[in-house]
């Protein structure tokens, strides 16, 4: 395992600070002045129970900005600002976020912090309530890792709802709604584990993402994982990015982790709920209807053209099911949960076996994902937010029930599979 190496300057500044109770780190470059102003306001609103704690606000220093420690102007010495730098390179989209998250966690470990709260670079969660909730879960309830429960709309975070959450839950047995989040908190002990890079991550540093739940579930099975309700809406930095490229980055990394942790998840059966803190925010406003026709068209186009690729990955039964779907009228189009779970499991297996080039494999998954999105949006369009969540719960259960299929194919990939 390798640890993140900071620059000489940053190490010297960290030694000057010595230690901290809570490190609040930002997982991306931000305007230092704006952060300072907002952090001082938030710190003032945190309440008396936090006044005895030493806070360090850390963020990656912008080019030309020296990693210099400064104290808040109108606050006691308990609030320190620390723009840090490290020689690592941040990749595109989520690879950059993950690299910064690891750096923040490594810094927290170096400062022997009792808790580290990681925030997204848009600072949407930089408010007293989220910080209080995260700190409460880690310091008072001894949680190793605290993940957010965002108040997302029915049509938000669909990659998370359709693949990441159900697959993570089926594999590692923890019911985490957002396994790949901008904001989360970790205990001091967990910070060191999360910041470390395993050998397989070291090998694919540019594409390696940080999956906090996977690390917590596989490397620290005794520690508690919790969730807190956050009424936070992030502005995703995916504008202008190709869906297939982002899907390839995120799902590819998930498959990579899956391969590395196979020995662990093969022993996991079922799933356990995790403790949740905070009051659930009001349901998000009703969303406008979405035209699913373009997604359906993408799926149909792919079914006409990508048959030769899908045939290498999917078993004949699944191909028959997909062919049947293409014959349905658009208004009757529904992708069954079993079929969708089986498709992703088969793609994960093909990733492991290198049945085809991995870039091709993930490219061929994109239209199938769009088919699932079209089906899901049609299904939940008439449902309330709560019912849509229940629908996702049902989907996750199906993924769990289908896990024996994945296990069987993973262990005996050459066995006949109709």
């Amino acid at each position: 395992m390798a640890a993140i190496e900071f620059s000489e300057e940053t190490r010297a500044q960290a030694e000057r600070i010595g230690s901290a109770d809570i490190v609040v780190g930002v997982s991306g470059p931000v305007a230092g002045d704006e952060l300072r102003t907002r952090a001082e306001t938030v710190f003032g609103l945190l309440g008396p129970s936090f006044s005895s704690l030493r806070f360090v606000f850390a963020w990656p220093a912008a080019a030309g900005e020296a990693p210099a420690v400064s104290l808040a102007a109108d606050q006691p010495a308990a609030l320190t600002f620390f723009p840090f730098s490290w020689p690592g390179q941040a990749g595109e989209f989520w690879a950059g976020v993950s690299a910064h998250q690891r750096a923040v966690l490594a810094l927290a470990a170096q400062l022997n912090a009792r808790a580290c709260i990681v925030l997204g670079p848009d600072l949407a969660a930089l408010h007293p309530h989220p910080l209080q909730l995260f700190a409460y879960a880690v310091l008072e309830r001894q949680c190793g890792l605290v993940m957010p429960l965002y108040n997302a709309g029915k049509h938000d975070g669909l990659l998370n709802s359709g693949i990441l959450a159900p697959l993570g839950r089926a594999l590692y047995g923890r019911r985490i709604r957002y396994p790949l989040a901008f904001d989360f908190a970790a205990s001091g002990a967990m910070c060191a584990r999360l910041a470390r890079l395993d050998s397989h991550q070291n090998n694919h540093l540019a594409s390696s993402l940080l999956w906090p739940v996977t690390v917590a579930a596989t490397q620290s099975a005794q520690s508690t994982i919790g969730q807190v309700h956050l009424d936070v809406h992030h502005q995703t930095a995916s504008t202008g990015l190709d869906l297939s490229a982002v899907l390839a980055q995120i799902v590819g990394s998930l498959f990579q982790e899956m391969e590395a942790c196979a020995a662990h998840w093969q022993r996991v059966r079922g799933s356990q709920p995790v403790p949740v803190w905070g009051a659930a925010p009001a349901e998000p406003a009703e969303v406008q209807p979405v035209d699913t026709r373009p997604m359906l068209d993408s799926f149909l186009l792919a079914s006409r053209n990508l048959d030769e690729v899908w045939r290498l990955v999917l078993p004949p039964n699944t191909l028959l099911e997909l062919r049947r779907l293409t014959r349905l009228a658009p208004e009757a189009f529904r992708m069954p949960d079993e079929l969708w779970a089986g498709i992703v499991y088969d793609f994960a297996l093909a990733w492991r076996l290198r049945t085809i080039g991995r870039a091709h494999l993930l490219g061929a998954l994109t239209p199938l994902y769009l088919g699932w999105v079209a089906s899901y949006i049609r299904e939940v369009s008439g449902l309330s937010h709560a019912d849509a969540e229940l629908r996702l719960e049902q989907l996750s259960r199906v993924w769990e029930e289908k896990k024996p299929y994945l296990l069987s194919r993973w262990r005996w990939p050459d066995r006949f599979n109709p």
Partner: protein, 234 residues
């Protein structure tokens, strides 16, 4: 008369047996040399694979050359090196075998021609292999990218790219084998020039309306995409 027939049959049989007997040591030497080199190649490939596995060659390669797995998805880099070593020894075995055949049979015309031509064959085989792998990889990339860009003619594009690469490969292979080089050059030039000219004419004259409609559609799609999205994947 029958005596003459018998005598000539006996003498031709004798000559045939004699030349067979002259060739037999050469054939035997060829087989022995080939088997020996195959064995050495197999052992050496196995040893190299073990050494590379011990020094973590696969991990290093996957770190420095992540696209290697895309080119050869079923083989790890160490397996690929092992295969290359084995086939190099196979080729060397064939060449040594042919040389041994020459020494054993005292027939130097055939072996001289074969030995001189072997590098051409090996080069052509490598070209053919690379061309095929490239055609398959690029056409699949074009197909998947085209489908993800919602291009209805993605398959056509992919097939076109595949055949373009295969035609170029075939021309290069034939050129490398010194087979009808003038005809190949001429044919390739005419074919390629013809395709480009046909496309230019099709776009410039026949499909002017189609192209303008397609461009208008693309422009309107850009305008549509600028509207706020109601579905968020991330």
């Amino acid at each position: 008369m029958w005596d003459h027939v018998k005598q000539s049959l006996q003498s031709s049989m004798g000559r045939a047996m004699e030349s067979l007997a002259r060739l037999l040591p050469g054939i035997l030497a060829f087989i022995v040399a080939l088997l020996l080199f195959l064995f050495i190649g197999w052992v050496l490939a196995w040893v190299v694979r073990r050494i590379l596995a011990a020094v973590g060659f696969d991990e290093r390669m996957s770190r420095s050359a992540p696209t290697m797995a895309d080119w050869s998805p079923r083989l790890t880099p160490s397996q690929l090196v092992g295969r290359i070593i084995f086939w190099c020894f196979f080729t060397a075995g064939v060449m040594v075998g042919v040389s041994a055949f020459e020494a054993g049979s005292s027939e130097n015309l055939v072996s001289g021609w074969i030995l001189g031509y072997v590098p051409h064959i090996v080069g052509a085989a490598i070209l053919l292999l690379i061309g095929n792998v490239l055609a398959r990889y690029v056409s699949r990339s074009v197909l998947i990218a085209g489908v993800n860009l919602n291009l209805s003619y993605a398959r056509l594009l992919s097939i076109g790219v595949r055949w373009m690469i295969l035609v170029i490969t075939a021309a290069m292979v034939l050129d490398h084998l010194d087979l009808g080089s003038n005809i190949v050059e001429l044919g390739f030039g005419i074919l390629f020039g013809g395709i480009v000219l046909a496309l230019a004419l099709a776009v410039g004259l026949g499909s002017r309306d189609l192209v303008s409609r397609s461009l208008e559609r693309e422009a309107s799609r850009v305008a549509e995409e600028q509207q706020p999205e109601r579905v968020h994947h991330f």
